[in-house]
Amino acid sequence: MTRMRYLEALRQGLHDEMERDDGVFVIGEDVRQGLRGVSRGLLEAFGPDRVIDSPISEAAFTGFATGAALAGMRPVVEFQVPSLMYIAFEQIVNQAQKFSLMTGGQVKVPVTYLFPGSGARRGLAGQHSDHPYSFLVHAGVKTVVPTTAEDAYGLIISAIRDNDPVALFSPAAVQAQRGEVGDDRAPVALGTARIHRRGEDITVVAVGHLVAEALRAAEDLDKEHISVEVFDPRSLLPFDRAALVASVMRTGRLLVCDDSYRTAGFGAEVAAFAADECFAALRAPVRRVSRADVPVPFSVLLEEQIVPSHQCIIEAVRDLVGAGGPSRD
């Protein structure tokens, strides 16, 4: 095991794939300097043909990557800020994502989109605080949100090796955290969830940095004799349906924690899925803890009113477990 920061694990995964496959290259803004940390040192290791600074042209560099992928390469596109995705949305969801079907399978588009620094970061205000993964999930783009260093390493590798477009969101709140990465340097398969903590009374699905919040909440709730299972999908699309069904069938309760906008967000999809598949097992309504449906205000005090915290999770769990009565004698 090697202990490293989440961001180092992402960088190591990218480095290892570039070493393994000559077709992998990085394009984005300020990637030569590694401004966001993911590509730092790669210019020295692989040269300027494989670490390419683009002009500030998000739509065009996204299309550029599609063209390079269609021509046989395996591009990794870094968006300096996740919300820059909006500028490139057409090229992601209407071009790259649809090419395989529209051409009747003539081609594949093995592009990875990296979104480092995702989510609110205290004071970044309206246009730099989004966690926009729900948009891509809705449009059918394979999407992963690793939460630990080990998963960051394993998922960036799987994202790059996958033959479809894959988006990887790296939450700002966990990028500096350290964790163990196995020496086997194994990929983490898309579509596989990780249960961070086993519990009996309720399944808490948490995405991204909310996994850490849910684990904190679980610690606190344990003192109240509420046993929380913390379920990290890691891969939002494809989603590990079987693991969720198995968990909810055991616990009988579900809370979904998702720091994207509430209405039609990823959490809504998980809740609807559970209502379909686990109805008989549910002893309480499915509930969501999400971001409010408004842009993040600049004031840090107001920001805290908008984005979910571990306290929201504690309150929601108490409510749900109370609603269904204690499950343990």
Binding site: G63, A71, N94, L101, M102
Partner: protein, 341 residues
Amino acid sequence: MDMTDESTLPIRMYRTMRLIRRFEEEVRRLVNANEIAGVAHEYIGQEAVAAGLCAALSGDDILTSTHRGHGHLLARGADVSAMMAELFGRSTGLNRGRGGSMHIADFSLGIYGANGIVAAGAPIAVGAAWARRQLYPDKNAVAVTFFGDGGINQGVLAEAMNMAAIWDLPVIFVCENNQYAVTARITEMSKVPIGQRASSFGMPVVTADGMDPGAVFDAASGVISSARRGEGPQFLECQTYRFVGHQTAEAALRLSYRTDEEIARMRERDPLVTWPARIREEGLMSGQQQDQIDADIELCLAHAIEYARQSPEPLAGSAFDYAYASSDFPGFPAAGWGGRP
């Protein structure tokens, strides 16, 4: 143009233009007869551009096309029957019935697809040009990206031109200026002449008469050679005209954005009339040769339409096929109503 070296070129370009014209006339008929579903944007009037430009390409070159893309594919030698079957939505179509008119593609010929979004192919062509230069430097290939006068106002085209320019990529930006973005005249939608946009990115600009395949061929040969020599991206404006509406159904809308007189005036320059007259006069094609070409094309189209009609529909259970290169996950992609179709 110099016709001594390639004596068959004028005939080849005539044949290409005739095939496109007749293909598109049949498509109009079949759309109106509800045999072809959806929307078709015919290339009628613009044939000289595809014929002249594609005659100047070599086998390793690639292109991205537009919503008005049939002509580009035909000029590049795409299989006529497989194209027609695609427009019919059949499993034997180029895209197995998944693309239709607006997404028709043949990657085996370097055709990276028609595209339903204006100018969206431009950055794709730029990326492909870069990647192919990295992967196959000896091929010395170019990428052509077609767009219309409407495309000139898309931001992504400006971004793509700049990227191609700063990286000296072998990309030919071909503006097929047919004067109208659907119903809006280019002179109303751009303050400056089209070429001025490109020259501001540091790119050479050439303008050609897009109603004359010989002129397009000459201009295209020049800019393609420059790009192959490593002189970076090139911009070629072909001034042309579409004789019919933006798409088939426009005929029924009785729009007033251009006059019948204007269309009639442009039809006097119809390349399907002027080009064969000229090359016959110059002794480069006999009347008998022309008749034979025309007859061959009729047979080819009759066969293509029959092939399309007789071809099987895709299997109803195959609607999810090709959505992903790898989709081996339970319940993925999700069906709209439980289970898979």
